[in-house]
Amino acid sequence: MPTVVEKKLRQSDCFKLLAACFYEPDREMFLQERLCDNLVSLFSSCGYVPAAEAARTMLVALSELSDDELKVEYARLFVGPFELVAPPYGSVYLEEKKRLMGDSTVAVQKMYQEAGLSLDVKEAPDHIALELEFMHYLCLAESEAGAKRQRKEAQRLNKMQTEFMTRLLGPWIPPFCENIRQGTDNGFYLNLADCLEGFIQEIILLHHPVS
């Protein structure tokens, strides 16, 4: 049985590797670093069955698709330059007018700052990759506190995750993933949507334990 710290570490890695999937794809690097294999084993070891299944299919798709196919589809879905098929920004889903830099974005920035982090990339703060990476950081920090038996700090970090997940990241994952599913037939990204949504559902449950 994995310890609590180990579980948290695995979650942290899940967030990180999922974040990586939302960067500009580099097929060779993804394959060399066994990105999808690692996702499969992480999800499996955590018992996240649907996410693991989806990651398995991502693995197959990655081996079959060319780098160009991945890049074109990535751009079409998440970059533009025309209509963004699946805008990867929280505010598009959380703000009434679907603009960026809304109040939800400020809330996201505030949490980054509270965690002692600042952005080191030229991107809107509520980009999916950034928000997932932030969760990776919080999970890792929590497990570090846990390993050092700093219970209060671990609790504080866990509370931040709950707030971030339930208020700022969790709510927009279903419509975002639906946009991807409706907007592509690319096996990698189609299954990435399932993988992300499946995983996030599990995490949300953790932060909202069924009474």
Binding site: L9, K16, V79, V106, S118, K122
Partner: protein
């Protein structure tokens, strides 16, 4: 966005290994030293910039909190907008935070180009993007054909010199083509060939006693919008406001008089007003002069002896009367224009009573017509007849804005560049059919829309490399589909833009442009309410993505790549000629260069030199204030024979302004210009006018006169005359992806929110069996669009009106219905309006009822 380090993909805990917590591998974050909790708690700050939503170019301030722009107001220092902005000013917030913006350089991977064909863009680095562009351009120089490079300029700031002239001429091409002719060049023509000024007028409406607005809507467009909004109420109290426009616009809705003329009959109404003023002896005698013996000889239909009249500030009033005015009675004009004769008489008498405190505010509606040049002259001539030119409450030229000129390029042009930058231009200006008489010089102006012809016909040669910035001619030029064909033909096209649009569909490289007002550093000048202004656009927020300043950073980055390829001339020019005026330092990167260049141009307004106007102590203060106001424009500066001035430079004699040095009712200036053009093509002025689709012959060519409107499509087949107008929410064609555009569309009279409406008179709708809200297809001789019928009495029977702006088939999520399938949201007016130009000025045609349409229910 790329993964910066491979470590990011490594697991923190290896499978099967015991968990040990290590340092986090971060890709997008860094540890911060900022005090926690400061976001959302620090007070914000008003930061000065300039709105470029229209050509008012309002000095503004943006409220920035936590690095986020949240509110916009007019710059309190502004003597132009009194600290207020119009709806456009606020709307821009939805542009800067538009998720569909171009976010990074991208390249096309699908070589096939066309509407509905996915270009398959992928992100590329700046280095790859600029290396590709430089390689393509240098190939042209190597082949000895640099003229095959074309720069297409859209909405510019006054940093335009660098990309427009600097890059193009040092590289060696004559083809720097501006958008200006799709703006309102024919309007400038009207001012040029009466009062000798190729430019837009200022209006002293605070002191007007009569304001005659012609073919525009000052509270929604035409260069002093917030000023007009805040003053119109007082003007309505203190003066009479009359509006000549086939459609009931905002100003007309409030005005005491609305003259809904048939589109394109402006010349007849203007002449009839002149007819009343002259026959009733109501012209302003201090300006125009009088009959020597005091008896008014202007009798309807009667020829007058020129020697009987002694003119003062004007030239040729009697000639004008004899050639064009004497027969245009109000009754005749009423028959032509459908404006009642008694209304024409009433307006003329009202103007006379208020003279000289009268402003005739001419807009593009009076001018941008197939035969609009003479209408524009006729309308502007009224300013002369009532003495409102350069006068209290009238029309004014602008005070000087003391900016530096661009340094000479010649030392940086090699032999190839010197020779080839003088070749013929691709827009065919100056050819027999396109006189484009800017400033009175044949071929002096641009014929923007005809560039597509040049490209399609490879005449005078084929174009191989094109850079376009902040333009979208495949949507914004009439006969837009011609541009699609032209763009398909261009082998290599670079589009610098904030949002991908129809032209981007044909791009090989897309570069993200900075949003003006929020992310750019540059300057513009404008005038309103007697004050000229120089105002800075400043980066008040950090762009979310890496966007460049098109006019300064593009030249710099290209210059660096040229230098790597053995052609350092461009970067040398930028470095050596735009040193920091304060420290003398050369720029080392594109951002520094931008700042030094802005400082170079504007230095005299902040470096302690006495140039009048606001006193500003240094660059830092100028940036903080964001603007400089001139002293008020004095009145009557050109009275006393100063409407023109003879100059001699390098032994060459030229005239600036009018040839007679007076306000010309008989245009010696146009006579000279047309004569030169005819001589160049070894033909007669009559032949030139016929070639340019005018009916005038003989002396009529040199006076403001009435030309019957030219219409595409027979009345039998296309019974409705189409009126195109500008929405008060159009932000230089870049607001259609903003949700507010649709939400507030009803602020245009006769428009409905969330709808692209064709306004149709209920009488006509009844005949067609159409109900309000019916989906309709509108068809002209060149194209067909679908939109929604809106029944409205603000258009006269027989005419239909529609705001320009909607109908994008390639744009973002809000502006297009389905980009992938190229399905537009609404319909583009330029699909209906055929390609044509007012050839004497080069102006693109969009007014004057030149398009007949038929309407069917879908």
């Amino acid at each position: 966005m790329k993964i910066k380090r491979r470590d990011f993909l490594k697991l923190s805990v290896a499978a099967g290994a015991a968990a040990t917590v290590g340092k986090p591998t971060l890709n997008a974050f860094a540890a911060t030293t900022k005090k926690a909790g400061s976001i959302g708690e620090l007070p914000g700050e008003w930061k000065a910039s300039t709105c470029q939503g229209c050509t008012t170019w309002c000095p503004v301030e943006v409220f920035v909190q936590d690095g986020r722009a949240v509110k916009v107001r007019g710059n309190p220092h502004s003597k132009q907008n009194d600290g207020y902005v119009c709806p456009r000013g606020h709307m821009s917030l939805q542009q800067v935070y538009d998720p569909d913006r171009v976010k990074m350089p991208m390249k096309r991977t699908n070589p096939k180009k066309g509407r509905g064909i996915d270009p398959k863009f992928v992100p590329v680095s700046w280095d790859e993007a600029f290396s590709t562009i430089a390689d393509k351009m240098m190939e042209l120089r190597k082949a000895g054909e640099p003229e095959k490079y074309l720069l297409m300029r859209g909405r510019y700031t006054y940093m335009r010199d660098l990309i427009y002239d600097g890059v193009t001429k040092i590289f060696g091409s004559p083809n720097n083509i501006s958008h200006s002719a799709i703006c309102a060049e024919a309007e400038n023509f009207g001012a040029m060939f009466t009062e000798g000024m190729w430019g837009y007028r200022d209006y002293d409406i605070s002191n007007s006693k009569y304001l005659l607005v012609w073919g525009c809507d000052p509270v929604s467009s035409n260069r002093m919008i917030p000023a007009a909004i805040s003053r119109l109420g007082d003007v309505l109290d203190n003066a009479t406001v009359a509006v000549v426009d086939p459609k009931l616009n905002n100003t007309a809705a409030k005005a005491q008089e609305w003259l809904p003329l048939l589109p394109g009959t402006d010349g007849a109404v203007a002449l009839a007003i002149a007819h009343v003023l002259l026959t009733e002896g109501l012209w302003y005698k201090e300006f125009v002069g009088d009959f020597k013996d005091g008896e008014n000889l202007f009798k309807a239909g009667a020829i007058v002896d020129e020697t009987a009249f002694a003119e003062k500030e004007s030239h040729g009033v009697v000639k004008w009367w004899n050639i064009a005015v004497k027969d245009m009675t109000p009754a005749k004009a009423a028959e032509i224009s459908q404006v009642p004769a008694d209304q024409i008489i009433r307006v003329a008498r009202g103007m006379a009573k208020a003279a000289p405190n009268v402003a005739v505010w001419m807009g593009p509606g009076a001018a941008m017509q197939v035969r609009g040049a003479y209408s524009a002259m006729a309308v502007n001539a009224l300013n002369g007849l009532v003495g409102g030119v350069d006068n209290v409450g009238g029309t004014l030229p602008s005070n000087k804005v003391p900016v530096k000129k661009m340094p000479s390029l010649s030392a940086y042009q090699d032999e190839l560049a010197k020779k080839h930058s003088k070749l013929k231009k691709i827009d065919q200006r100056g050819s027999k059919a396109f006189p484009a008489l800017k400033e009175g010089k044949p071929g002096g102006g641009v014929v923007t829309n005809n560039t597509a012809t040049g490209i399609l016909d490879a005449d005078p040669y084929d174009i191989k490399v094109v850079v376009g910035y902040m333009n979208n001619f495949a949507f914004s030029c009439s006969g837009a589909e011609r541009w699609e064909k032209a763009m398909e033909k261009i082998p290599f096209f670079v589009h610098i833009t904030t949002n991908a649009a129809e032209m981007t569909q044909y791009a090989d490289i897309v570069l993200p442009g900075a949003i003006s007002k929020y992310e750019k550093l540059c300057w513009v000048k404008q005038k309103q309410n007697r004050y000229a202004q120089c105002t800075l656009l400043q980066p008040v927020v950090e762009p979310m993505w890496e966007a460049i300043n098109d006019e300064t950073e593009f030249p710099w980055m290209l210059g660096e790549k040229f230098a790597e390829r053995g052609f350092p001339n461009l970067i040398d020019f930028l470095k050596k000629e735009f040193k920091d005026p304060e420290t003398g330092k050369e720029a080392t990167n594109s951002k520094e260069f931008t700042e030094y260049a802005v400082k170079y141009y504007t230095q005299d307004m902040w470096n302690g030199k006495d140039v009048g106007g606001d006193k500003i102590n240094g660059w830092a203060e100028f940036k903080k204030r964001g603007m400089w106001n001139s002293d008020p424009q004095p009145y009557k500066t050109r009275w006393g024979g100063k409407f023109g001035k003879d100059e001699e430079k390098d032994g060459k004699k030229t005239t600036k302004g009018t040839v007679s040095h007076k306000f010309e009712f008989y245009s010696e200036t146009l006579k000279k210009a047309l004569g030169k053009h005819a001589e160049k093509h070894k033909t007669t002025v009559d032949d030139i006018l016929a070639t340019c689709n005018y009916t005038a012959k003989g002396e009529l060519a040199f006076v403001p006169h009435y030309e019957p409107p030219f219409r595409y499509g027979s009345v039998q087949e296309y019974p409705f005359t189409f009126i195109d107008y500008k929405s008060r929410l159009n932000r230089e064609g870049r607001s259609q992806n903003s949700p507010w555009y649709y939400e507030f569309k009803h602020c245009d009279p006769g428009d409905v929110g969330h709808q692209d409406s064709l306004q149709i008179n209920p009488v006509d709708a009844g005949k067609l069996g159409l109900k309000d809200g019916d989906a309709i297809r509108v068809t002209s001789v060149v194209g067909s669009i679908e939109c929604t019928a809106h029944l409205w009495e603000g258009v006269r029977p027989g005419t239909v009106a529609k705001a320009f702006g909607q109908g994008h088939w390639a744009y973002g999520r809000t502006a297009s219905k389905d980009y992938a399938k190229a399905v537009p949201r609404g319909g583009n007016n330029n699909t209906l309006m055929p390609f044509d130009t007012e050839r004497l000025s080069g102006g693109n045609v969009r007014n004057g009822g030149f398009t007949g349409v038929k309407i069917e229910r879908v």
